[in-house]
């Protein structure tokens, strides 16, 4: 069962609109619970208002092996301040109400513990678009594939520069919504230069799938967003946005910095092609 483009919970309609506008989509990440649950929800809504097309809502986890210091720090702080898994649904509902589809990015044990079918049902009920699963490969995802087929939620698996062509084909076959291409080998974190690796992995992925391919890990500013938008269907930004909040002196300053960066990135994805 595939989600209906107009009424389904997924992100397909976003990419259709971006294609019409001849641009790439902007996908913006923040973890729920930093600086507080309410503060993170306000920040996510601010990102939608400033031009983000899709919000990636992270759930803080004690052992985030795919994340670099910036995201890991914010997650750790959020956990210390008492964030719970169920708080993610507050965030997804607010983002959906603000007009953008929220994709939840989560390490697998949190969903496993909640119960895979229950999590899928609750996520859908709270306006969620689907899941991005950095430590779940399709080979281990039978439960989630079943639950997402039942609910129509998107399932975004990752591909990496190290993936063989065989893996690219196998992984993308199980994706719905888009394919998350990791730009280079390593953890999340803003980087000065992405080099050619990102372009190569996008081209290799596009050779085996019709799905949109978005590039994540390492994007820090408008110029980079424009560069990636020239060959990818979407640009995913995380650490650079988190840093707006971790480095801010107070919440208002954080939101101002965030709006300004999202605005710059939104211009970037519009000047790439």
């Amino acid at each position: 069962m595939t989600a209906d483009v107009t009424t389904g919970p997924g992100v397909e309609s976003v990419f259709a609109r971006c294609r019409e506008e001849g641009r790439a989509a902007l996908v913006c990440y923040l973890p729920v619970g930093f600086p507080s649950v309410e503060g993170s929800v306000r920040a996510m809504v601010a990102m939608v208002e400033a031009g983000a097309d899709i919000i990636e809502v992270g759930i803080p986890y004690t052992d985030p092996v795919m994340d670099g210091p910036t995201v890991a720090y914010a997650a750790d702080q959020a956990l210390k301040r008492g964030v719970h898994v169920r708080d993610v649904f507050t965030a997804t509902q607010a983002v959906r109400d603000a007009g953008a589809p929220p994709l939840v990015m989560t390490y697998w044990n949190l969903v496993l513990r909640y119960g895979v079918p229950t999590f899928a049902r609750d996520l859908k009920a709270a306006g969620g678009a689907g899941l991005i699963t950095p430590d779940l490969i399709p080979d281990e995802a039978a439960d989630w594939i079943g639950a997402s087929d039942e609910t129509g939620l998107d399932r975004v698996f990752l591909v990496a520069p190290s993936s063989t062509d065989q893996r690219l084909a196998a992984v993308t076959r199980q994706c719905r919504g888009f394919v998350y291409a990791v730009s280079h080998m390593g953890v999340t974190g803003a980087r000065e230069s992405l080099g050619d690796a990102a372009k190569v992995i996008v081209e290799r992925t596009k050779a085996v799938t019709e799905l949109p391919v978005c590039v994540g890990v390492g994007v820090s500013g408008g110029a980079q967003a424009a560069e990636i938008a020239a060959y990818a269907d979407g640009v995913i930004v995380g650490s650079a946005l988190v840093r707006c909040l971790t480095e801010a002196t107070d919440e208002e300053a954080g939101l101002t910095a965030l709006r300004s960066l999202v605005g710059e990135l939104a211009d970037g994805v519009r000047s790439g092609s």
């Binding site: 092996v65 949190l110 969903v111 513990r113 909640y114 080979d139 990496a160 993936s163 080998m185």
Partner: protein, 427 residues
């Protein structure tokens, strides 16, 4: 030693690396090619006479294998008078069983054409073994160690640095073994092209649990025939401590098809189960995913990993190798725990009765043996894996028993323990 050759038929995709429901491969896609490369390399190596010959030569001429067994009658008086035999992995080069796995993985590293190895370490024994193998084979070596562990195992940090390894103290999370593994995994994702991650126990994504077990299997293979030679029969119980579970899988595996031999793993009971400060996964936890594998896991209601506690750094880990979870759920192995107090008591007892200073990890197995011996009585024959020696733990022991210069040895802790008629230890 005619060993059956490993079964090389490919497993169906979603059952890859499973022990019953446990195991699997819950890792970022970026690591999958490296895991597949490793799986292929180890399958080839395990049937390649050149690899097996080189490993055998290293075991014999470098590690000092076969390790001996030692019967410990004075210790056994405190274990209900049962016959107790120790498998002396503490006598291996570098001081623990960890070297068995490390030498094999270092050889694999070279076969895969990689030039750099990384490792996590808790007690420091696996880090020391990895630094040693790296020095021996000319590999670059980085060891990740929780900051708390670098402090309580400072001697091993110095040893690793002496051997030329870079030691990175990890300050995040609980700053113990699990956080060291997180950091090693991050390094591996970034450097997987030329780096092999020498994982130190039977956990992690497939093929690590199976491969590390196979590299430690020699412990049980040797011990089974040594015990048969010495006593003419199989032991009633084989007892080992369980951190990630490598020394236990190593000694258990050869006995799995001996139905009359009880396999008993001893976890870290820390300050007691009620205190919440322990690492007795089987006494309190539900299955979940951590570090690439589905196994019993100490987690809160949200699935966040809980902090663990043990006096012994090598057992201070919230998850456990998936094959142990399977052995436990099928009932083939049983698991109990020893508290810090019991383990320290057993530590002191072996020192005083046999002149052998065990690692704190292994002291948990000894505490288990005291308990099992008292349950089974004088006719029982127990085989205990003495996984390591206690030199690294002198600082902890000195503080625990008040042996630091100028401090008085507390009353009751200084005297030689005496066995009483009913088999109970009097301290």
């Amino acid at each position: 030693m005619a060993e059956p050759t490993p079964d090389l038929t490919p497993e169906p995709l979603e059952r890859l690396g499973r022990f019953g429901d446990f195991g699997g491969r819950f890792v970022p896609e970026a690591l999958i090619p490296a895991l597949e490369e490793l799986d292929e390399a180890r399958h080839k190596a395990m049937v390649d006479p050149e690899f097996l010959g080189e490993l055998e030569r290293l075991h014999r001429t470098y590690t000092g294998r076969p390790s001996i067994i030692t019967e410990v009658p004075r210790f056994a008086e405190h274990a209900g008078g049962a016959r107790v035999i120790l498998k002396r992995e503490d006598l291996n080069h570098t001081g623990s069983h960890k070297i068995n796995n490390v030498l094999a993985q270092a050889l694999l590293t070279k076969r895969m054409g990689k030039t750099r190895v990384i490792a996590e370490t808790g007690a420091g024994q696996h880090g020391v073994a990895t630094a040693t193998a790296a020095a021996l084979m000319g590999l670059e070596c980085v060891v990740y160690m929780g900051k708390v562990d670098t402090e309580r195992q400072a001697l091993n940090v110095a040893r690793m640095r002496m051997l030329g390894a870079e030691v990175v103290a990890v300050p995040t999370g609980s700053a113990t073994l699990k956080d060291a593994i997180n950091e090693a995994l991050r390094d591996w994702v970034a450097n997987v092209g030329h780096t092999h991650y020498i994982l130190g126990t039977v956990t992690g994504p497939h093929p690590f649990p199976e491969m590390v077990r196979d590299f430690h299997r020699i412990i049980g293979v040797e011990a089974r025939s040594q015990v048969l030679d010495l006593t003419g029969r199989l032991p009633d119980a084989v007892i080992a401590c369980v951190g990630g579970g490598s020394n236990a899988m190593g000694i258990f595996h050869r006995f799995i098809d001996d139905p009359d031999v009880r396999l008993i793993g001893v976890e870290a009971g820390g300050e007691g189960i009620e205190s919440g400060r322990h690492a007795a996964r089987f006494a309190s936890a539900d299955p979940g995913v951590l570090h690439g594998t589905f196994s019993y896991l100490m987690q809160d209601d949200d699935g966040q990993t809980l902090e663990t506690h043990s006096v012994s750094a090598g057992l201070d880990y919230p998850s456990v190798g998936p094959e142990h979870s399977h052995l436990r759920d099928t009932g083939r192995a049983e698991y109990r725990y020893a508290t810090d107090d019991k383990a320290m008591e057993a530590f002191r007892l072996l020192c005083r009765t046999e002149g052998i200073i065990p690692a704190l990890e292994s002291s948990h197995a000894l505490a288990g043996a005291i308990e099992v011996g008292r349950e089974l009585g004088p006719d029982a024959l127990l085989l205990v894996n003495l996984s390591g020696r206690g030199d690294k733990d002198m600082h902890t022991a000195a503080e625990w028993f008040g042996l630091i210069d100028g401090e008085a040895v507390p009353e009751g802790r200084a005297e030689e323990p005496r066995a009483t008629g009913d088999g109970r230890t009097q301290l």
